[in-house]
């Protein structure tokens, strides 16, 4: 196992070493110690590494991740897994705002709570939050799934496209064009799969599904006065 101590190595050194690994690397196990809230830890990885970060991180941890499995033994700052493409990221603590923003793929699991704008403009990523999420989550979400075991803040799924939102707890309010929808067998299957993959102990039957009413997709002449 490779171990990098951020008390003695620079962030640039860490990210260069991680980014240099090829898809067939033998050096799969990595550990980062003393992250001390630093920004941009483990961004742009492009190999099936297993990375353990021992402590809390700052902004943009695991951004643009492809293939790597990353675990953070702590909390993460704003923009964790921003634009993630694939792989999986597991946060043991809380996540700050816009977790998983614009993510195209992969699985982001947050054991604690996520703040506002979780999954904003998500484009295929799966996000499972074991705690609560803040306001404006999944704003303009295009595809992928957001699963929340706790409660959701105000304006959930505002201007939503085709992302699916599964919420077990209370929703403070729904955003424009977001409605509760029927939970069909295919949705239960997707949800069960994500709960299992993210290690969540929850019953599919306790969740409600929310999605787009699709009324904002096309210009409506009756709304002309609103612009």
């Amino acid at each position: 196992m490779e171990k990098i101590d951020l008390a003695t190595s620079s962030l640039r050194e860490l990210n260069e070493r991680l980014q240099q690994q090829s898809e067939v690397t033998n050096e799969k196990q990595w550990e980062v110690v003393n992250p001390k809230g630093a920004h941009a830890i483990a961004v742009g990885l492009n190999a099936p590494l297993e990375l353990l970060i021992k402590g809390s991180t700052g902004y943009y941890c695991a951004g643009m991740n492809q293939h790597a499995q990353i675990t953070v033994q702590g909390s993460v700052g704003p923009g964790v897994c921003e634009n993630m493409m694939s792989g999986s990221v597991f946060i043991e603590g809380d996540a700050s705002q816009y977790a998983g923003a614009t993510g195209h793929g992969g699985l982001l699991t947050i054991k604690g709570n996520a703040a506002s704008r979780c999954g904003i403009s998500m484009k295929g990523i799966n996000i499972v939050v074991h705690g609560n999420i803040g306001h404006m989550s999944a704003f303009m979400g295009q595809s992928g799934n957001l699963v929340v075991l706790g409660n959701a803040g105000d304006a959930l799924g505002d201007s939503l496209y085709e992302a699916r939102l599964f919420i077990r707890g209370k929703v403070s309010s729904l955003g424009a064009d977001c409605i509760e929808k029927e939970m069909r067998p295919e949705h239960r299957e997707i949800l069960q799969d994500l709960l299992t993959k993210s290690g969540a102990d929850a019953n599919v039957a306790d969740f409600k599904r929310y999605g787009s009413a699709r009324k904002l997709y096309n210009f409506d002449i009756d709304n002309a006065g609103d612009y």
């Binding site: 001390k36 809230g37 630093a38 920004h39 809390s56 700052g58 902004y59 909390s75 700052g77 704003p78 809380d94 700050s96 705002q97 703040a115 506002s116 803040g134 306001h135």
Partner: protein, 298 residues
Amino acid sequence: MCGIVGLFLKDKSLEPELGSLLTDMLVTMSDRGPDSAGIAIYNNLKKQGSKITIQSMNPVEDFKEIKAQLTQLSGADLEVRIVDTHAIITLDSNYKDKIKQILKSSFANLRIMSIGDSIEIYKEVGLPEEVADRFELSKMVGSHGVGHTRMATESAVTTLGAHPFSTGEDQCLVHNGSLSNHNSLRRKLARLGVNCETDNDTEVAAAYITHKMNDGFNLGDALNAGISDLDGFYTFLVGTKNGFGVLRDPIACKPAVLAETEQYVAFGSEYRALVNLPNIDHAKIWEPEPATVYFWEH
């Protein structure tokens, strides 16, 4: 962008370390605000009357005879401690208003940074580390303090445009964000007799809080009223004689992290600012909710 830090001590044994802990937090936030920095430190551990912090662009000249001049004009028994471009006047509380009048009428070169029983404010243009070194912030002792690293948006990079802003006795406010209704609110407050000295948006927020507290609101109620009256982006940290309070706007774009242990409550714009605090690994750490007031008092 801007950086905010704050530390409220519950454990008196940490009071001698307040300056060094806050300095470390402040310098860590240099990336968020490299143009100027400031700190408000609350220290009335010896119950020594009142303090007025003054600032001069030309301290060698302006502070040379200041003690004798003020004594002669006021008849007060006072002490003056010069710290770089700032000086702290310590005096009997009964002479506070008189000295304030004298400073305003007879010393045009001097600026009053703060007045109160506990508060001292130090702020200057420059990198936070340089500002901290100039004032030897790391040696300061106190019960609580707030600090700010500035990246200017709404007004010029000047000493007076730096935070914290103090508009009432023992009160100060630091701000990350920008207010959009500060000009109209400044005019409204002026009509009520509350005047701001700069064009800065944050000073208006500070004056607003002071105005509300003068009307009998406590810090929590004053901040709550601000949610409807202050428009824009903000994370505020407000210092008072006994403690500090935190408020984020309802959209909550501007970052904020709180940490609490049995020894202290700490605030940082980023978790990075808190990592060297004692026992931080066992602290309760959370992000303050939007439009929700948090405050701690001794």
